[in-house]
Symmetry: D2
Subunit: 450 residues, 4 copies
Amino acid sequence: MSYRNQLLKREKVFRDPVHNYIHIQHRVILDLIDTKEFQRLRRIKQLGTASFTFHGAEHSRFGHSLGVYEIARQICDNFARNFPSQEPGDGLWDDSERLVVLCAALLHDIGHGPYSHTFEHIFHTNHEQITVAILTSPETEVNHVLRRVSPDFPEQVASVITHDYPNPQVVQMISSQIDADRMDYLLRDAYHTGTEYGKFDLTRILRVMQPYKDGITFSMEGMHAVEDYILSRFQMYMQVYFHPVSRSMEVILEHLLKRAKLLYDRHALSESFIPHLLVPFLEDDFTLADYLKLDDGVLTTYFIHWQDSSDPILSDLAYRFLNRRPLKSAQVTEDTKDLVPILQKKVAAVGYDANYYTAINNSFDLPYDAYNPKAANPKTQIEISQPDGSLIELSTLSDIVAAISGKFTGDERFFFPKEMLAETTDNLFAETYDSFQQHILNGTLIHTSD
Amino acid sequence: MSYRNQLLKREKVFRDPVHNYIHIQHRVILDLIDTKEFQRLRRIKQLGTASFTFHGAEHSRFGHSLGVYEIARQICDNFARNFPSQEPGDGLWDDSERLVVLCAALLHDIGHGPYSHTFEHIFHTNHEQITVAILTSPETEVNHVLRRVSPDFPEQVASVITHDYPNPQVVQMISSQIDADRMDYLLRDAYHTGTEYGKFDLTRILRVMQPYKDGITFSMEGMHAVEDYILSRFQMYMQVYFHPVSRSMEVILEHLLKRAKLLYDRHALSESFIPHLLVPFLEDDFTLADYLKLDDGVLTTYFIHWQDSSDPILSDLAYRFLNRRPLKSAQVTEDTKDLVPILQKKVAAVGYDANYYTAINNSFDLPYDAYNPKAANPKTQIEISQPDGSLIELSTLSDIVAAISGKFTGDERFFFPKEMLAETTDNLFAETYDSFQQHILNGTLIHTSD
Amino acid sequence: MSYRNQLLKREKVFRDPVHNYIHIQHRVILDLIDTKEFQRLRRIKQLGTASFTFHGAEHSRFGHSLGVYEIARQICDNFARNFPSQEPGDGLWDDSERLVVLCAALLHDIGHGPYSHTFEHIFHTNHEQITVAILTSPETEVNHVLRRVSPDFPEQVASVITHDYPNPQVVQMISSQIDADRMDYLLRDAYHTGTEYGKFDLTRILRVMQPYKDGITFSMEGMHAVEDYILSRFQMYMQVYFHPVSRSMEVILEHLLKRAKLLYDRHALSESFIPHLLVPFLEDDFTLADYLKLDDGVLTTYFIHWQDSSDPILSDLAYRFLNRRPLKSAQVTEDTKDLVPILQKKVAAVGYDANYYTAINNSFDLPYDAYNPKAANPKTQIEISQPDGSLIELSTLSDIVAAISGKFTGDERFFFPKEMLAETTDNLFAETYDSFQQHILNGTLIHTSD
Amino acid sequence: MSYRNQLLKREKVFRDPVHNYIHIQHRVILDLIDTKEFQRLRRIKQLGTASFTFHGAEHSRFGHSLGVYEIARQICDNFARNFPSQEPGDGLWDDSERLVVLCAALLHDIGHGPYSHTFEHIFHTNHEQITVAILTSPETEVNHVLRRVSPDFPEQVASVITHDYPNPQVVQMISSQIDADRMDYLLRDAYHTGTEYGKFDLTRILRVMQPYKDGITFSMEGMHAVEDYILSRFQMYMQVYFHPVSRSMEVILEHLLKRAKLLYDRHALSESFIPHLLVPFLEDDFTLADYLKLDDGVLTTYFIHWQDSSDPILSDLAYRFLNRRPLKSAQVTEDTKDLVPILQKKVAAVGYDANYYTAINNSFDLPYDAYNPKAANPKTQIEISQPDGSLIELSTLSDIVAAISGKFTGDERFFFPKEMLAETTDNLFAETYDSFQQHILNGTLIHTSD
């Protein structure tokens, strides 16, 4: 039997806390899981700094990737059973697409590195480009497995991830406003954080999902389940992903790496503090192999070293990151943005380098949007199908979704050292602290009359 | 108010997936959580190599330590409400013991390092001694916090952990056959692995727990809940903790560290492969500060380097550990132990160094034991209290507990490379493989007639 | 000790699937649970006909009443610990209100009878008036218990339920847009139906609840948890409480009782079909004792008899109710209301009495409303408290809540026999069926061109 | 297409709290669910009087029957996918057996009536015989549906339930020591009582189940999951099914029906207290149609009437049953059985008719037994299959199962009025109470020295 169609003699399962079991049926999938690039995902936390806020959220991208695969597998099973294509172009499901879907689902995050968001910001890497590289570079084990399927299979899988694959059903299953990726991470992050917000009725959504010629639609009877999913996602953003403490730890991480880069550039790091595995990135000249050596533990290992550095900022920020010493923050609006430099001066006045101990950080998300051709990044809107086959866009049917549709949600915050909120009696900097604190009310920056 | 009695203005909570919330009421507890020694537990996985078998089990010792604290807190609340001591020696609960209990619960695992079991085996460290050292050495942040309570408070907390504290209620709450530690880890490990086995009725057990002069007892109405807890523990050992794949990964880890030590001792590691933070341990001359720099990520960072080593065993074992390439195994009994050297020779014959690619590993646990003064390590038996106040030892009441009482459960396994189970047709080593395989039936070593 | 303050020697618990345990501490509460009026709630299903749609939803009002009590108890515990009143009028919690709260919580539904909504419609009973009667009539066991607390205690408890009690904190705990009643039924109905929609973060909401002088408020950090509760409630209404099949079974029940009343009034029921326990209601001359004899089983016992009646409508409707033969339905809008009489004629044309086999039924709910003095029934709005103590109404803070605030949600449906949707080939009434069916598209009535 | 093979155009689902969804694929199954005999199960509680102890346990036999069907369906799916028969007699699964399995699973409890255990004891009915009658009597709707499959299909389904069906795989799936029936009721009863004890790993057990020529076996890797299931069952018996309060309510029910029968036999029931639907049973001359009119509500409706009876025993016992006034109890052993008549005299001495206010009740279960040809009712033992295909009986492999294998577990209890435990000071019957109480220690009858 061809490698493409080779099924395991007996289905293999992985016990999973979210989906109970992950079912592996294809030899190709098992081989992909066994690659070193995929195993590496065990060493990269799914939620980065969020575990500083929700201590249960220590799960890695490995389990999430399996989970996305499992949801995609269940969708394929449903489509193959209930909506099998009879002839090309009938808008139903062609199950020969299954393997490309499963591989894309499993591998969609394979390019992620440690604390990707922050890392990319400092070192100008891009996890999506790296994903494509891992799939298509002949040097990787992943590419080796994919090539055994067919010479162009690596590019096919990559094109699903880059949204260039011709079949929109395949693309939307992996990447759309309601896809296997988002459905898994909401449930998984909710499970590990121990919050309820991310829960929605996955089984019901999978039941009402249907293929049609331009992608995927949801039947009317499941409209409220889809609505509930959108709201769960909104809640997870508001309550978990945008939590100020996690963002504060990201700020510290970013400033720590920025400081290390500065010191490296100035040759101010002595040999024992040089982060050898990061040097290609500090030099801005790295290979895929360099990238694949990185993980969360590599970074924290350097931070452990840096705690002993003689550079007070490097050692302090490393200490703060390792030992969870977040900055405090307050919300900033357009009206109060002018206060930021003033407050930074006050922070500097009590002895902190404002470049490293203050920051502006914004976190916004578009919980849902109907298709908007003028948008920077137009979204595939969610279509609800009526019994007679006609389609209606979700926010047309749901007042609640309409309420958040097209609106960026989140906030912009000013971060500063906790010490700025100290009691102001009997203190050398009492006056500075006091004037700083007058600009914060109910967690928000405010102008004062003086 | 004294530091000892200082309560937070408003209770602080940590969201926890197992207990919903961890409630922090004392300033001392919050300060302990903020120490760098305690924060370090975030970087040490609770179950070591078990996440290679159950991918959800990536949780750290940090959450477990909070969980043990929370259970101990709930026990104290129950005892203080329902069984408050009226006069010294009445066998009831003296709530002035609360702080020492909470601190011991929180800190009982603070001496753990990365992959403790294996690490200790190779480097002769001892996490219990280190726990005591962290509590009592003036150099630690933990000691600094504890000393603020009273000069002898660090030693008091340490004596709970070493079982030397005079009040047996306090000791048994933290360490006995049914204590806050075990109750938390069973529930937490069950949660993260996604198995059901470890679940038992915590709330009911906490309700039937009672202090008495010699420790802690459980009222008769809760006997079956206690029995169920014993069985949950038994099941977790059989199905999770003793899983052959996790043990195989431990074998690989142990052999990897053993190989590194040999190479280091022989000065055969070139500079870029020297594990600087491990050197004090390789030299068998380490300080507490050296120990506290270690975590899971430090070890795997060295393994990432070692993959590129020119020593084929070091690089291969590092690859196998990082990328989950377990050995296979079969059960060994007294009767078949003689086969091990024979099989090791066959493994060597096909080209593997049997010192690094085979192992005998046994995992046994005593699920429950009544007090047995002749035992190497006599256990505090579980006492069930009758309505008239008399006590009956658990296994007297439960046939099921009696069935496993005093019996070590587990198995001894022989580990070897997966390749030994290869198909034997068309293969250079066909004959060797074949003769090897004839000694394995139903996952167990057997003698053959030839 | 006075009866009012008498605590049980040891707290008594009821195992509860939603709250794990219900904790009973007061003798008064235990005595109330033991009254026959309260025990009777075991025989009245919480959700009436909903179990015909969600078969797990067979739970009674008994468990719900305990659950409301338990939530109220937890709120009192929280308020007593964290917000104890120091002096009258300080807006904090006066724990001497606890007993009246607990009793009102436990007894708030005690006046409910079988399938209340439908029953009240036909027989002009009113469960709220009956609740007050049960509390205040000297003939009940409940009144007997309450009177032992103090002579005016029955009236005090009743005044909480009628919203006349002076302390708004007490009233809002039991009855407001976010009260112990609603919080329990959402969680409990979600649990028993097996849906996820009703789940929200009860623990967190209880943590952020605070008393203030005009009632109860929620601190800003919990705003999203409150928002999520509003949405859960909205989802439960949309997906469970307004389910067309359950409403169809209510329609059948109503028509069945209506038919029985007609036959009774006409003396057309023979002796063996006379529903003796219902006679006082058929005669519109009933006592409290008559009412307290009714339960779900009494009604269905008469239906079992009626199945054998010679009146074809009575026996058929009884059969349909007992054996779940729902009517079908389609949504009606203002625009299509004119079609109803036309369609009813078609139903009549194929032989059904349209008075009994068709119906218009609407189910609407106001998911949330800010205080609106012009409303028929102005709501206590949900107030979110800021760190500086100021209050902001919920929909001001939440776009999502604003989207549904003040809008009645639900639909109006036309019910008709399933047979009207039969295949129209080879059928005596093919033409009628066909013309009927042309007026239904996508589950909604439509006008057609002809 | 033949009725036997007719599949629904689209699978229909019922939302279920235990299995999430029940999947209906065959027209036959949907038609069976719609029969009046099956719908009647909605009005019969699964656990009878247990809801007096665990108030959540109000679920009916309807949901359980669907659940057994669903588990059987999943087993068939697994067998059909992984173990399809290639030729007759190969010991693998012949999927043409599927429909008979599904029907037997769905209908296995259809003969149950209200409070079966007690009812059968008084009225000498037998729910298993009635099940067969419902399947095979031409008068039932169930028979009508089954006959449409084939004329002998009703008898085939019946023979599965009576264990006479030739294929042992089919019989064991529905009725053995680990069957779809038991697996569903443990999970469902655990869910609704809110206890954890009944939980076990259903998914894993279903995965390791395999057909073989003499029935069903479980592969070795799942041995501990099977062991855990046996223990869950044991725990549910000990903690839920044998709960003394539920048994006490059964005693009251039995005595109430016994009293009614006596009064009826003596013509001492006036017309308004005659339980018309029970008359055929009181006369010991009933038809299947008579039986099918009974449900829980019919019985309680008569009890509501009987509360007003002038017979003090009838009215008191009816009051006690409706309003949950259990008797108290103490354990009886062989040694103390002689005390029972003595204690009954004391109960009589204070004014209770000992025939109605005392009882001996025993509840025993055999949690597991290996096949024992000498047993009254030999059990199909649980076989564990080894990798080489050999079978080993479960208790041979598990010390824990061996510990309870073949041992009847439970207890015998003496029930008596709560008043016998009254405080004995200042009381007319103080001396009698006192001497009664001296015979009870730690919940067990004891001899005293006097």
